[in-house]
Structure formats: C-alpha cells, structure tokens
C-alpha cells in the first residue's frame, strides 16, 4: 500500500545511506578531502531565469571536473536565482552541490529553516558567508539583515547538526548531515590577524575553507606560514580560490569595484603586455593552480569565473590536478579535521 505513494520512491536526503565512519555528511567533497586527494570545487553562477535548464547548462561542463559546485547566494548583493533552488536542482541529478548562505539577506529564523530544507533536498555542503554589503549590488536600497555573522552562523549550524537543536533549544527530529565551510580572504588587511580569524572560524565549526581569489602568491605563502605555525592546516581543509582574469581592464575594474579582491600590479602588467590577454589570464590561472598544489597545507582549489563555466572546466583539465585521481594513487595524509 505504501509503495503506491509517490513520495516513498524518493529519498532525496539520502537518509538510507549511512554516513561513513568519522564523517559528518555524505558529501563527495568531504570524502575526497578526507582521503587526502587534491580536491577541486568551482563556482556556478546563478541564472536570472526560472528555467532549470539554464542551471543544468551551466553545471554540465563543470560537473565532470569538480567535487562540489558552489551555488552563489546573491553574490555582490546582486539578485539571481537562489542558492537553495540551484542546489535542489543539482542534487536531483546527482551533482555535489555547495549551498552558500550569506548573512546579508536572511535572519536566524529563515536561515535555520533553509538549512533543514536544503538537507532534506540532499544538500550536504554548506558555505557560511558574511556577504557583501547591499551598497555594491543592483538594489542598494535593500535593508541589510546581518543577524548572524559568518562565525556565529557556523556555530549555529554546528549546533543544529551535532546537538540536534535550534538555537532556541527546540529539538530537531532528524538533524541535518552537513559538511561545514567558510570563506577566508588572506590577501587583504588586516594581514596579521587573518590566520587568527581562520582559527576562530575553525573553533566555530568550519571544516573546510574556500578562499577568495588569490593572485599574490608571496602574500598567500605568508598567510599559510602562519596557518601552519598555528597548526590550523591539520584542523581544516583549505581550498585556495583562483580564477582567470579576462584582461588588464577587467582586473583593474575588479580591484576597485568588487570588495575584497587584491590583484597585484605585476599580474596586471603581464596581462597588459600579452597579445591575447584572455589566453594569458587562463595561463596565469593554470600556473597558480599548479603552484597551489605544492603549497603545504593547501587541500585543493576553488575555481571561480563569472559565467565562464566552459573556460573553468578547461582550466581544471589542463592544470593536470585531476591526473592523480586514479584509484589508489591519492596522496594520503593523516588529518584530524573534525
């Protein structure tokens, strides 16, 4: 009798799949990271459309090369299809999705509810962000919320998962099985305390970190030195953020108009001097990915490029970081990340 009910044929949250020992979710990203392999995630830019095909079209080229697809949450305070909507679509076809939650647009009531909804739809990775201010977006007159900040949000979600309750103390019948992430921006001030803030994020519940764009390797190395000194690379998986620059002009524009992006002059000069700046931007990106592989404590890369999913897919393939993915060749490292 019950087999006739259509909902019984569905198990979107994968409740019947047991979570692997020592893991906190069924996330592919978590499995890859815990196995010690170099992980790859990419950003999927949300369409201004209500058509699911627009999501799938953007996701297709990326799905073959990544362990998780970040669905941005109105990044830059611009309105697009919601991260939750996109993640729900992605999980339906079996892609690993990373739900992004920005504290700018929703209060604690909305967010805690969304997390249960997302987990029920099979979303198993959540990236907690503070979010850009509304002033940079397309609707600067909006009321900013910022009820949580990224760190209190992490702690709230960890409480939901580990203690099975809302912040009010009310019980959650089936807690969400989620792998928790946060962002970090190592290349902007205050440099000296960025690693301390990372420690705070780990303390709050972060299990993986995706950084903002990194074009300044020496500055990033300085940050990583501090991270390793504090032993943080043993407690969290760090995915370095990279992305191709289209031209010197675009790089300059990003530097002045997008909050939190640092592009050093020598990178801009290189683009300016190139015959085909687009190709040069791609080359620079591939080089950075390959250098990131060698940085101790970096567990993977996070590739971002606004609405250029094909290009991102090419960059990942050409960088060669996936060549070590054949069974049994993963570099195994002992990790204690919770």
């Amino acid at each position: 009798m019950s087999a006739e009910r259509p909902e019984d044929r569905l198990d979107p949250a994968g409740l019947t799949n047991p979570v692997p020992e020592g893991h906190s979710s069924n996330s592919r990203l978590e499995r890859v990271l815990r196995s010690g392999r170099f992980a790859v995630t990419a950003e999927l830019n949300p369409p201004d459309s209500a058509n699911p095909e627009d999501v799938y079209e953007a996701a297709r080229p990326l799905s073959e090369v990544v362990d998780g697809l970040n669905a941005t949450d109105a990044s830059g305070a611009n309105c697009h299809m919601s991260s939750l909507g996109i993640c729900a679509l992605l999980t339906r076809v079996g892609y690993g999705s990373i739900l992004q939650i920005s504290c700018r647009d929703r209060n604690r009531i909305a967010i805690q509810g969304d997390v249960l909804g997302a987990a029920a739809m099979g979303v198993s990775n959540i990236l907690c962000l503070t979010g850009d201010g509304v002033q940079v977006g397309d609707q600067p007159g909006a009321r900013p919320v910022f009820d949580f900040d990224s760190i209190s949000l992490l702690r709230a979600l960890r409480t939901m998962r580990d203690d099975g309750m809302f912040l009010s103390g009310r019980k959650i019948k089936t807690p969400p099985k989620i792998f928790l992430g946060a962002a970090e921006n190592p290349c902007i001030p205050p440099f000296e305390t960025r690693a301390d803030r990372l420690a705070k994020k780990i303390e709050a519940g972060a299990q993986f970190i995706q950084t903002n764009y990194i074009y300044d390797l020496p500055l990033f190395e300085r940050f990583m030195n501090r991270v390793r000194d504090m032993g943080l690379d043993e407690k969290v998986y760090i995915l370095a953020g990279v992305g191709p620059l289209a031209s010197a002009k675009a790089a300059r524009w990003m530097r002045t108009n997008v909050p939190g992006i640092h592009v050093p002059d020598h990178v801009i000069d290189r683009l300016e001097g190139a015959e085909k700046p687009g190709l040069e931007g791609k080359k620079i990106c591939i080089e950075i990915i390959q250098q990131m592989r060698e940085v101790k404590g970096v567990a993977g890369v996070h590739v971002m490029a606004y609405r250029r999913e094909e290009l991102v897919s090419d960059i990942i393939s050409e960088s060669g970081v996936l060549e070590h993915r054949h069974a049994g060749t993963g570099r195994r490292r002992k990790r204690t990340a919770g």
Binding site: C103, R104, R108, T130, G131, D132, G133, Q135, V136, P144, F146, D147, F148, D149, S150, I151, S152, R155, A156, A183, E184, N185, I188, P189, P190, E192, T193, D196, R197, A199, K200, E203, A204, N212, P259, G260, H262
Partner: protein, 207 residues
C-alpha cells in the same frame, strides 16, 4: 564621536584597566541593586551608561556589551553589525567596505586588542546579538550575571557532598542536608547567618 572612539581604541589598555576596576564594584553592589529593584534602576542607569559609553565608544546600547573582547572598538558601529569581524571586504587602506571614509571597526578592534592585557579574548566566538535587549543596560546585566554565577558556584559547592554520597542523600535526608538551616539548628557554629542568599555562608558541612 569618531575621533573620540578612535582615541579609545588607541588607549584600549587604559580603558581595560578602568573597566576591570568598575566591574567588580558593580558586582559587589548587586545585593543593594536587588534591594532597590533592578526594574527601578534600569531607566536611570541606561541614561548614565548611554551618555558615558556613547561619548567614548559611539555605543549603540545593544545591551550586550563585548567591548572588553573587541579591543574597545564597538562592533555595532560596523555597518554589518559583525560580532566576529572583520569581513572579507576591508579596503587596501584598512577602511570599511561599506563606509569608505571610516576605518574598519574590526581592524581597529584587533589593533586595540593587541594592546590589551586580555586582548586574546577577541578570539572567542561571540553569539549573535539578542535584539530584544537593545536599549537596555549592559552594566546592570553584567552585575546580575556575575552575581548569579557566584551564587551558582556556591550552590555547586553545597551540593558536592550530596553528589558524592547520592544513595545516602536519598535514603537518609538528614545525612546530607541541603535545605536552609536556621542558625538555632547549628548550635556549634557562630551565628553569622545573613538573609541574602548571596552572603549566606552556608558552606557544606561534614554530615
């Protein structure tokens, strides 16, 4: 005022010292506050607190002051109201993403904290603010909370014997008494009993 609040951050060490003298005094006053009534005290203290902290720190009276953990830089002046900052949008010159003419409140906070004795409190994860407490006195809240913690510690000490001998406590109520003991019931102890729970020296006693 912006200039004064920047001054306060530069002298965070001094203000930390001032507050470290002020806080225990408030806690000591708790029995008096309770007798007068916290309800009656709220409005005048709010007025006073608002004036002093408004002048020094551009205090927004969130009612849940964490200045000691934020280098004396009030986090409610951050346009995103971050309680665990800074965000990822700080400008190259250390100014705020949202208000370019203002120094990032959290860049100041980490700087201020580095000058303070217990500056590493800035690494503590702070919860989101409770909006329903906005406009209330944080000082009175601290006095109540710390006094309550003291009482709780005393209570825990008093229960230690019962917890060590749980069966006896259940089977023979007089073996590990926890209830209030009138002074006449303690013939071998000097009568120093006072009426407030806060001062009552009802230490645990060998049964």
């Amino acid at each position: 005022m912006y200039a004064v609040r920047r001054f306060a951050v530069r002298h965070s060490r001094f203000f930390e010292w001032v507050y470290n003298c002020f806080e225990p005094a408030m806690v000591l006053l708790d029995p008096i506050f309770r007798r007068v009534g916290y309800n009656r005290l709220e409005a005048p203290v709010v007025l006073f607190e608002k004036t002093v902290k408004g002048l020094l720190f551009d205090c927004k009276m969130c009612g849940q002051c964490v200045l000691s953990s934020t280098g004396m830089s009030c986090p409610m002046n951050c346009p995103k109201n971050l309680r665990n900052g800074p965000c990822g949008g700080v400008r190259e010159n250390g100014n705020c993403e949202v208000k370019p003419a203002m120094k990032c409140v959290w860049v100041d906070a980490w700087e201020g904290a580095s000058r303070m004795k217990s500056g590493d409190k800035i690494t503590t994860v702070q919860p989101p603010v409770d909006r329903s407490l906005e406009g209330s006195s944080s000082w009175l809240r601290v006095a109540r909370e710390m006094a309550e913690q003291k009482r709780a510690t005393k209570e825990a000490e008093r229960h230690a014997m019962a917890e060590a001998f749980p069966e006896a406590h259940l089977e023979e109520p007089a073996a590990v008494p926890l209830a209030y003991e009138p002074s006449a019931a303690r013939p071998h102890r000097e009568a120093t009993e006072s009426t407030t729970v806060f001062e009552s020296g009802s230490k645990k006693e060998g049964a």
